[in-house]
């Protein structure tokens, strides 16, 4: 288990006074101190970690957020922002000496602008809520995390969330046009808008994926797209994951960027089939779902092409959807993969590394070996198009050391991802979970530069401390330049 920083007892002992001050900013029910009520916030989607916050605050306006943050800044109180609490990396895990700032009441769509193809929304609106607001006109919001009915768009921005359609349509960061942000000192900042590029330093790009460490998002402007005319899916079964991997490479090599390309391994296929009866073949090692979208003529043409490539790559099952119902059935198993695995094991732990696609066979092979070593089963689902791997490690938290083993197993998988040229997290974020692994991917110099950026936003490290960085250096220390004056500079450096 990872450790969080020691709570500051001086702050904990001032709890009453802090609650009083917050009530002056957010009246009514918006300040929660009741132990039972606070328990609702004690964890996010990484349920192995639990910690009720000191106080929860649920502001309703940007001005309230600004005043709460200014108060916390002036009084040196830590703040953890929270959207819907579905983070799988413990990003919204509260602190015993910190305030939990819930954005749940920011749940309104502010503007639907078809002329500029965008929606302005408050951060607590759900991901699916954006699509729901524009579906009547045939539009949708492209990034579609599996948690889309629950997760908030503010959380999506903080985590730079993705979904099965990222390869073609991009992640959250490619679909955010504007933000309103409140900094820890209460400053309200507007970045971007309905125009395509924000101008100045790319604060939009920096904020997206910053896991609540740089500022609180109070408004988002998101790009929407017209829904494709048609979509069809191919269900492809392979005798080995190598062949499925070859097929993915060959599809991309042929210049085809599919709407979605998802892979599942044998344990995942079986769990999903038992759960939803999607008609998956049970005698294959790897299943690939390839979705093609666009005009009918294009989709039919590409279905032919991909079928031929799959056959050449050794597919033993190949079925193309012929109706919308069938397409959705193909997806039903994949979409239910997490809960399906949840049925065959008391607990599971979802990993999220990204690897260069070509390394898939090596990585799956090594994961199988590790599974033996740790004595824990694993099922793999994989955003094959972009190399984002989700091994689900099955364990039982009631067994004395299984959680610990699952965590060590997970950490080893992530280190392997980095070793083969990939990264620790593709879309779930570092949070608490991968915090202590940052050193496997980044040197001290890399992390120091990141922390200096943090200092530009939050010099006292009050926003979401204990997340992302294994240790926080003091900003004053990081700012120092070590001067080697008087040295003969660059004796070997070519100059003209």
């Amino acid at each position: 288990m990872l450790r969080m920083p020691e709570p500051d007892q001086a702050v904990v002992s001032r709890r009453e006074a802090i609650a009083e001050a917050l009530r002056a900013i957010v009246p009514g029910e918006g300040v929660i101190v009741d132990e039972a009520a606070l328990r609702a916030y004690e964890s996010d989607g990484l349920t192995a970690y639990r910690q009720p916050p000191l106080i929860a605050v649920l502001p309703q306006t940007t001005e309230q957020v600004s005043e709460v943050l200014r108060y916390c800044h002036e009084n040196h109180i830590k703040v953890v922002p929270r959207g819907a609490g579905t983070s799988l990396s413990g990003g919204a895990l509260p602190l015993a000496d910190g305030i939990l700032l819930g954005l749940g009441k920011f749940n309104r769509i502010l503007d639907v602008d078809f002329a500029n193809r965008c929606v302005v929304a408050q951060p607590g609106v759900t991901n699916l809520g954006i699509t729901d607001a524009v579906a009547r006109a045939g539009f949708y919001y492209a990034p579609d995390p599996s948690s889309q009915i629950a997760c908030s768009v503010g959380g999506n921005v903080a985590e730079n969330s993705g979904g099965v359609h990222c390869l073609k349509y991009g992640l959250t960061t490619n679909n955010v046009l504007g933000l309103e942000i409140v900094l820890i000192d209460g400053t309200i900042l507007r970045v971007g808008g309905k125009h395509l590029d924000a101008g100045g330093y790319d604060i939009l790009g920096l904020m997206t994926g910053s896991e609540g460490l740089l500022g609180v998002v109070t408004e988002v402007t998101l790009r929407i797209l017209k829904s494709p005319e048609t979509a069809r899916a191919l269900l492809l079964g392979f005798p080995s994951s190598e062949q499925a991997g070859d097929c993915v490479a060959a599809v991309i090599g042929a210049g085809i960027i599919a709407g979605g390309m998802e892979m599942m391994d044998r344990p995942a296929i079986h769990a999903a089939e038992d759960f939803v009866h999607a008609g998956y073949p049970l005698d294959v090692e790897a299943l690939l779902i390839v979705e093609l979208d666009g005009p009918k003529a294009e989709v039919d043409h590409l279905i032919e092409q991909v079928s031929a490539i799959a056959k050449a790559s050794g597919a033993v099952t190949s079925r193309a959807s012929t109706s919308e119902e069938e397409r959705l059935t193909f997806w039903a198993g994949r979409k239910a993969a997490f809960p399906a695995v949840g049925r065959i094991s008391p607990d599971y732990y979802c990993m999220d590394g990204t690897i260069p696609r070509g390394k898939l066979p090596i990585v799956l092979g090594r994961i199988r070996e590790m599974s033996e070593t740790y004595g824990l089963r694993v099922a793999n689902v994989f955003h094959a198009g972009d190399g984002n791997l989700h091994p689900l490690i099955l364990y039982d938290a009631n067994e004395p050391d299984e959680l610990d083993r699952a965590e060590r197993f997970g950490a080893e998988i992530l280190k392997l991802c980095v070793e083969v040229g990939g990264v620790l997290t593709g879309e779930h974020g570092v949070g608490v979970e991968k915090r202590d692994l940052m050193g496997t991917m980044f040197s001290e110099a890399d992390l120091n530069q990141q922390q200096r950026v943090k200092c530009a936003f939050d010099p006292d490290a009050l926003l979401n401390p204990g997340k992302v960085f294994p240790e926080l250096h003091r900003c004053a220390e990081l700012g120092r330049i070590h001067v080697h004056r008087g040295q003969l500079p660059f004796p070997d450096l070519p100059r003209f």
Partner: protein, 411 residues
């Protein structure tokens, strides 16, 4: 005369910048120098020229990824990609000729540092959306890396985005990794003849709001269409609105025919095929219609797409500006004669005044150096944004040695 360092390794870059930081001596950062006229003029005694830090270090077409040292010529990158029928989907503009450089002279580092993007921006995003990883040297002289070589990556802050469009003011890029994509099999452009700006706005919006995955939407008023280097466009003899579709052949044929039908009530239509289509979008991308407009200030306005025509109308009512629209109206290229009050401010008051209602920003892309020194080249920021910009600058470059003043005076 200034002294030029021409490092061949990232260590040498770090050495030069460390020295500059210690001595608090500003450095001008240059890729191939093709866009030195972009931004506020920088005057330094020392330059760091990255042209010797060159070469593609990794190219895996199946993985859709390419890494190269920052000084690698764009020409070399384009050629390597073309061999595998791939490209940079953000369609980087070649703006060097605006500043007197030869066509195709830039470096990959320069393209990313300026966050250039062409007409396909509306579908594929800008340079920042394709920038996956970097090795760089901060203004402190410290080498660091960020990002990686995979598309999906949320490990740590996305410093690639922050450095894209920072014009060399935060760090010196040493090596970069970008996402590459297959070249679409076919391209075709639907032309609408003779629309006024507002009518073109309607047409482009209709095309963009269709399911046809439009990858370019531009409007060239008659005076601009007349000087386009594509005879099939110039000979229309009127304004031309262009809508591009790309993809597999069957799909492009279908979408092109459907778009023509769907736009037919707005005016006469025609279509451009492969080479003509490609040429038109290159002209639009590289601002060639306004390339030689003499005695003008060249502006680039980024506005909400639906506001484009009204913003241009406001400026045109007070000046003899030549202009055209890209990005479905969201990008306006505008050449403003340096006469009257514009002789003193390059038209900044007029241009920036025209976007207060709609939001957006205006950049002075080309103007005599005295004007670029006197007038904010980049959109002036409000107080909170300016303060944050300064803190971000200092977090990379506390002694402000990298391209000082290039983006904002004093920074």
């Amino acid at each position: 005369m200034s002294t030029t360092f021409r490092p061949e390794t990232i260590e040498q870059v770090a050495e030069a910048v460390s020295w500059a930081a210690a001595e608090e001596t500003p450095l001008e950062v240059i890729g191939h120098g093709s866009m030195r006229g972009f931004g506020r003029p920088v005057q330094t005694g020392y330059e760091i020229d990255l042209s010797a830090l060159s070469g593609i270090t990794l190219y895996e077409p199946d993985e859709l990824v390419l890494s190269a040292r920052a000084g690698t010529p764009m020409a070399e990158i384009r050629a390597a990609l073309a061999e595998k029928n791939q490209h940079l989907a953000f369609e980087p503009a070649d703006l060097g000729p605006l500043y007197g450089a030869a066509a195709g002279a830039g470096s990959i580092g320069g393209v990313l540092a300026c966050n250039l993007a062409g007409p396909r921006r509306i579908k594929a995003g800008a340079a920042r959306d394709h920038f996956l990883g970097l090795h760089a040297v901060s203004g402190r002289g410290e080498a660091y890396k960020s990002g990686g070589r995979v598309v999906k990556n949320v490990t740590g802050y996305d410093l690639c985005k922050l450095l894209a469009g920072s014009h060399g003011t935060l760090s010196v890029l040493a090596e970069v990794t970008v996402k590459v994509l297959p070249v679409p099999e076919k391209t075709r452009t639907v032309l609408l003849h003779g629309l006024d700006d507002a009518g073109a706005g309607t047409a482009m919006q209709r095309a963009m709001n269709s399911a046809h995955e439009v990858s370019g939407a531009a409007h060239l008023p008659a005076s601009v269409a007349a000087v386009i280097g594509v005879p099939r466009v110039a000979e229309v003899g009127a304004a031309v609105t262009a809508v591009r579709v790309e993809g597999p052949g069957v799909s492009v044929d279908y979408r092109c025919a459907t778009l023509r039908r769907e736009l037919a009530d707005l005016g006469e239509t025609s279509e451009l095929h492969s080479d003509n289509s490609r040429l038109l979008w290159e002209e639009v991308r590289d601002v060639r219609p306004l390339l030689s407009a003499p005695d003008t200030a060249l502006w680039r306005l980024s506005v909400p797409p639906s506001a484009g025509p009204a913003v241009a109308a406001r400026i045109a009512a007070e000046s003899k500006a030549l202009y055209y629209f890209d990005w479905s109206g969201g990008l306006i290229w505008l050449a403003l004669p340096l006469v009257g009050s514009a002789a003193a401010d390059a038209g900044a008051a007029l241009v920036r005044g025209a976007l207060t209602a709609s939001g957006g920003h205006a950049t002075l892309i080309r103007a005599p150096a005295e004007l670029r020194a006197a007038v904010p080249v980049f959109q002036p920021q409000d107080e909170p944004s300016a303060a944050l910009t300064a803190r971000v600058k200092d977090s990379f470059d506390p002694n402000r040695v990298l391209n000082p003043g290039r983006m904002y005076a004093g920074l």
